[in-house]
Symmetry: C2
Subunit: 412 residues, 2 copies
């Protein structure tokens, strides 16, 4: 029998009713002839509650105990899902991470999957079991202790099972019905994509289109697992959602796949930094050590041996960044005259694998923004993405204008 | 190092504050030089919530999935307790049932403990760990699935660990501060016992003095584990509570240890049953099959080949008992003319190992009740217990009068 992996996130299993609704979708796939592996998250809110318990108990907690506590939410859902399927006369049983066993590294709270033996579950499929319900997000270390894969690890669990079992597809059920050309709340012409390439999805995910966890997309890309993102709340059971796949599997596509945005960006400028070899390292090492997520970096041309260094980071990390840089100056690691923080900016990006073969995308983007009177503060580019920082008040306007200009409302 | 087992029930770990308070008591015992094994229940209310989820999902649930879901509450408390101890600089770690592994039978939801290997935990004690926190109530079956020991199974877990590790004592922390000569809410002269024999505790537990689960007392008796019941809420840490032990360890004691009562009793009488060999079996087999917990049984003298049969059962099982008996009559398994149910009765018992060597306890009990004008409806006796059914309205009076008459307010 072909194997299908179906993953249901926290909002899709938030209540017993939602679990029943999810189980019905599983039943549809079973009746289509699949052996199904269902990966479940904890009921919405449960993991946050448990994390709160741990943090209130021990601010600098032992990650091994954190994992033992926090993983229990998924165990509850897995058992309840198995029971719900049994009520529908579908042979099913639950598996906790250590029962599979899903073997991971010992890096508690951010463990990496090392191995998923398939023999136990395959044997049960052979005995007539139709659905294996697996608690997502968790595994077991070489020392026999429970590990977790980090937030969003259930997506990663699902993709890893799909790879291990050679599944025909890995369906990720969530609270949105697919990947859009842009945020529908900002641009009413936003269109759901039928297909998107892994690379594009990675850029969109890291830009804040929080549909799929980045790590799970990377894993799917590496093992060529065909992913589908779809809503557990809609009634459709066929052809819905968005397929995330290899670019060869996309027949013809727009040059630009989507327009992404990120609202909580700050632009920081170090004024009059000495321009010498190693200066970038002197600046960004202390920032990394302080846990500041630096995104875009621009260095101005040098004058009289000094230069300005500009970078962007999340708004709520500005204070931390300032402290790290001032400390580094005090310690004598570098000199600068001032730090300017502009917390009124936003990032807008166009993403598309078509850019590789089509010139002129950047020029068109800059022209469209200029026509709307929007000033560009910082630019960065990659092979399949162009990002700009602009005043936050123009963000919606920029997204709409770019969506129009690249005709994203039309299928490619 | 000597080993001590400490068990904390649901109300003793109901909040993070309560867990901290419990951890402080563990710290006191560690500072006294013990290696401590802590057994924890789920936070009060959690298990009921999970059981509710299972029952709402699947009324005739698969007990294997029930166990997987319901055991998760203890895992949370075990991790939180370990973290709390670590915060107090006490080396501790948590163990789930399968990690010990606490091996049980496959009788899910009512599994029996088969084996507790001590090597893993003993090795950790050898490495400097001071406290092993173990999730109570759960184990693992020969098939590698999670089992639970039934309600109150955490007491049983604690006693089993004490037996396996040859612990000096097994302290059961609960929300009462010990075992009393009778219910203090009914009789203000009730006195806390310093010591009570296993056999007496068993009679008191099964009579509804819900301090310790019967099964855990039986296990303690078999393995000669010295039990102590004490409150996790009081501030005392020494000499408090009640020791439950072998009768040889009780120097001198009252003839009667306590007066127990049970309010929710019903007296049922089958009128004019044919008096033939096998009739008792014809009556009580269908009752047992219907899940009716029959307690006292009295058969009247026979007249003209017919007799009356009287028994007691919990009030809320009367309807079920009537249905079972009427069905048996309809099926032709026996004949009777009427079923009379008296739901206005209560059971009062005096319990004490001293009765074995002291005659006259029954006579004294009957005389005291007669002096108060209380009519006795049914009597049963065992080696160390005499029970009577009386009108419920006299229950408090009977308890107080018996407590006075046997001078239970005075230490033996």
């Amino acid at each position: 029998m072909p194997v299908l992996v179906m993953k249901f996130g926290g909002t899709s299993v938030a209540t017993l009713d939602r679990i029943r609704r999810a189980a019905k979708r599983v039943g549809v796939e079973v009746s289509r002839g699949y052996d199904v592996i269902v990966i479940v998250s904890a009921m919405a809110g449960e993991t946050n509650k448990l994390v709160g318990f741990v943090q209130d108990t021990s601010p600098l907690f032992d990650a091994r105990e954190y994992d033992a506590v926090v993983s229990s939410g998924e165990n509850v859902t897995a058992g309840l899902m198995a029971l719900t399927l049994q009520e529908m006369d579908i042979p099913a049983r639950s598996w906790q991470g250590w029962q599979v066993p899903l073997r991971t590294t010992s890096a508690h709270s951010q463990a990496r999957i090392e191995e998923i033996p398939t023999d136990n579950i395959t044997a049960k499929f052979g005995e007539g079991m139709k659905v294996a319900v697996v608690a997502g997000f968790q595994g077991v270390s070489p020392e026999g202790r429970i590990t977790t894969l980090g937030r969003g690890g259930s997506d990663t669990t699902a993709v890893a099972f799909a790879a291990a079992f050679g599944a025909e597809r890995c369906d990720i059920y969530t609270d949105v019905d697919g990947v859009y050309t842009t945020d529908p709340r900002i641009c009413e012409k936003a269109r759901k994509l039928d297909r998107i390439a892994f690379e594009e999805m990675l850029e969109l995910a890291s830009l804040g289109a929080k549909v799929l966890q980045t790590r799970s997309v990377e894993l799917a890309m590496r093992y060529k697992v065909k992913l589908r993102v779809l809503s557990s709340l809609s009634e459709q059971t066929d052809g819905s959602g968005t397929i995330v796949c290899d670019e060869e599997d996309i027949m013809e596509s727009n040059v630009v796949a989507g327009v992404a945005h990120s609202r909580d960006e700050a632009k920081m400028t170090l004024v009059s930094v000495e321009d010498r070899p190693g200066i970038a390292s002197s600046i960004f090492t202390p920032l990394a050590e302080a846990g500041v997520n630096v995104d875009m970096i621009v260095q101005n041309i040098s004058e009289d041996g000094r230069t300005d260094m500009t970078f962007s980071c999340p708004t709520d990390q500005v204070k931390r960044a300032e402290k790290a840089l001032n400390d580094a100056r005090t310690a004598g690691h570098m000199t600068f005259t001032d730090i300017k923080a502009d917390t009124g900016v936003a990032k807008v990006s166009v993403v598309g694998i078509g850019m590789r073969s089509h010139a002129g995308v950047a020029a068109k983007m800059f022209r469209v923004l200029a026509q709307e009177g929007i000033n560009i503060k910082v630019i960065t580019t990659s092979e399949i993405k162009i990002s700009v920082l602009i005043d936050r008040k123009y963000m919606e306007l920029a997204v709409q204008a770019l969506h129009d200009a690249f005709e994203l409302e039309k299928a490619g």
